[in-house]
Symmetry: C2
Subunit: 426 residues, 2 copies
């Protein structure tokens, strides 16, 4: 911890009882200064509008996709394993509080330390939990540095599935917004709540981690539950119709969650996250005729039905041919190339968001899709699918992949004594 | 118009009956391809969840501040006044439709022109109006270019109140994200709806305007109606407590709307917009003790009450002194320096939004306030207030002004035959 943080140790000593974080809610009841809406909940209690933090799997994966995203990748700047572990424990306590609609910790000038900064930045005071979820992941560089050195004594725990992604045809990656040692995905139905959470984790991590890159997203581009309507991406098409969904128990076991025997026991119940920031050349797209757009996607723009079928959830008929003998769904159509039946049955649980990052200085909006996909093993899922898409997808003319990252997201935090990364660091 | 747009003339001829845009809704009823949620409304009819587009003043000023923003500044790239006017008329028709929850125009392959691009980009299909407002403004550079040349025969109509802003102490403006010939402020309660609107105006304006810069915002930082609770900015403080509000009829006349005799008749009923992108050094702020933060702002963080008072809306007592003889509200406190009583009674109607534009490459979030203020005359309102703040505000240590712009927002569009800029160009 930095010197600055050392000054907070008295209060930290109260909130963090050794390794465990039990009693946080109890202590919080002692402060009356500045509290978020739902401060009276105790650990484990479900607050209205909140998503339970504890469980077998991390929340924010099969949780019905919220509408807003703040995603951050951190570099770890300490060499001290104990500091890293202590921060992960503090993060876990803060995450449990914030996802329940509370502040990040004790707040304001409490217990006689008026000169210390507040324990919460305050901009979410009074806001409800807004279905906030916080999902953590560990990148390949956390295990070994660029010189191959074991950074924190965990190199031999790096899962084979956490392999660096290969270069894909057409990749135009910017290293400064790619990769990262640790990621946190904050999803909520209020962007202020998602931003508040990431900001407070960054603040707690001062001296231990540094923000490498971060991304805001609006408008989910996938459904992760059959209760949700399929949203539209910035090409104007429904996106994620064939996504893995929370109700597909068998497929989730087979395609989403790391299983015993997969090769890294600490990841059992976890999942691998691939993120790709995909700039869409929307001005060019907007000049394409509707028929061409639909041919590229392989679906109709209005209903989302596969070409030649009637309704969104009808199965695409890849064998169908038009009167002229041409396939109804083109060989280069996105829906064909990405479909599980064309990829050895490989599915992804996609959880992407639209983004607009202002403009690009060339008179165009800097907009697109921040793609996020969860899976059991990227070597068998994202990598072969993206290899195929990168080579043949007719959509590539309108896309630029500018950022890429992969993270191993551990299993869920079981209870108030558990913490993010325990299975990796214990 | 560009060549590409020439191919759309047949459909345009139907939707745009000469200068007027009457009959748009009637024609729209003829298409069944792709329509937004509320396609059945006719012109002037109020759709649930929509803000009326026509009126004495433009919507989006005293309209209760929506929660999301997409603001864009365009450069005009044509020299042809007729093309500029035609685009403003098309924009007006599209804005009337989109604010009513409809698509930007006819959509899809209608009336036998299947090779033409769709008339709407589609990503807002099925979404409700979401209180979308679109507010247009004209910048100083639209009247004369940098060489002083009259660009569109309107140089003599430039209002004296549309003066270039002076340099303020501490300004660190980036020219590429400052200024602009025309601005459009899109506010909505769904960012997808705001982004969709700006994108479709940019698409309609192809060959006439080019995006100079654009900014997304989330989380309004002001209330513009007494029915709204005061929100918090990224310093964690309530912002906009003393804002001009829709209910203050007398003050609005005196402080917000341009009046007959103000010197530019075409602006009567309009208002002047100043935008400032203000980066907040939130990591530094987060390390400041609560007491220091409150001294800088002049209000308590929790309730928003002025220091020494009890409730948010209590009037600040600038004369009060503590036992040690020091002012309860510091001489350099933000609330003191910005208060109307310290600025010859000058008020602003603020309508700013929080922003997070990822990170800055130095381990910090690129975050802050996109400040927007409307007023009757910036020379008597924003300029003197900001001059005082720039010199003395204790908050400056945590702020960087990186973008600045000023626009004259004309009066409202009266009816379906009226259009954005008519009073300026007719």
């Amino acid at each position: 911890m930095s010197e600055q943080r050392a000054g907070m140790s008295r209060r930290r000593a109260i909130t963090l009882a050794g390794v465990g974080v039990a009693g946080v809610a109890g202590v919080a009841a002692g402060t009356t200064a500045l509290v978020r809406g739902a401060d009276h909940a105790s650990a484990g209690e479900v607050v209205a509008g909140s998503v339970p933090f504890h469980g077998e799997h991390q929340a924010g994966i099969t949780t019905p996709a919220q509408d807003r995203l703040h995603f951050v990748a951190f570099d770890v700047i300490t060499k001290d394993r104990a500091k890293l572990v202590a921060m992960l424990q503090e993060w876990t306590a803060a995450a449990a509080r914030m996802t329940a609609g509370k502040d990040a910790g004790l707040i304001g000038a409490v217990d006689g330390v008026p000169e210390a900064p507040p324990d919460d930045t305050g901009e979410a005071l009074g806001l409800p939990p807004s279905q906030l979820t916080l999902t953590v992941g560990f990148g390949p560089t956390l295990f070994r540095d660029a010189q191959g050195k074991d950074r924190f004594g965990i190199a031999d725990k790096r899962p084979a599935a956490l392999a660096d992604l290969p270069h894909f045809a057409g990749d135009a990656l910017r290293p400064e917004i790619s990769g990262g040692d640790i990621c946190v995905q904050a999803c909520a139905n209020d962007p202020q709540v998602a931003v508040h959470a990431i900001r407070n984790l960054a603040r707690i991590g001062m001296g231990v981690v540094s923000v490498r890159w971060s991304q805001l997203g609006f408008g989910r581009t996938s459904s992760t539950s059959r209760d949700q309507a399929t949203p539209r991406n910035l090409f104007g098409f429904k996106d994620g119709t064939a996504n893995l969904k929370a109700e597909d128990a068998g497929l989730l076991r087979e395609q989403l969650w790391a299983q015993p025997g997969d090769g890294a026991d600490w990841m059992t119940g976890g999942s691998y996250l691939v993120s790709r920031k995909i700039r869409m050349l929307i001005e060019t797209w907007d000049r394409s005729p509707l028929a061409e757009q639909e041919m590229i996607v392989g679906r109709t723009k209005g209903s989302g039905a596969p070409l030649g079928r009637k309704a969104e959830f009808d199965e695409p008929d890849f064998a169908a041919r038009a009167d002229d003998g041409q396939p109804v769904i083109a060989e280069t159509a996105h829906v064909r190339l990405a479909h599980p039946s064309m990829n050895n049955g490989a599915h992804l649980l996609r959880r992407g968001y639209n983004f607009v990052d202002g403009s690009d200085g060339l008179g165009r909006l800097d907009a697109g899709l921040f793609f996020i996909a969860y899976q059991r093993d990227p070597r068998k899922q994202f990598v072969p699918i993206q290899t195929r898409l990168a080579r043949n997808d007719a959509m590539n003319e309108y896309l630029r992949h500018v950022s890429s990252a992969i993270f191993a997201c551990p299993p869920g935090v079981r209870d108030a004594a558990d913490w993010w990364g325990r299975t990796l660091f214990s």
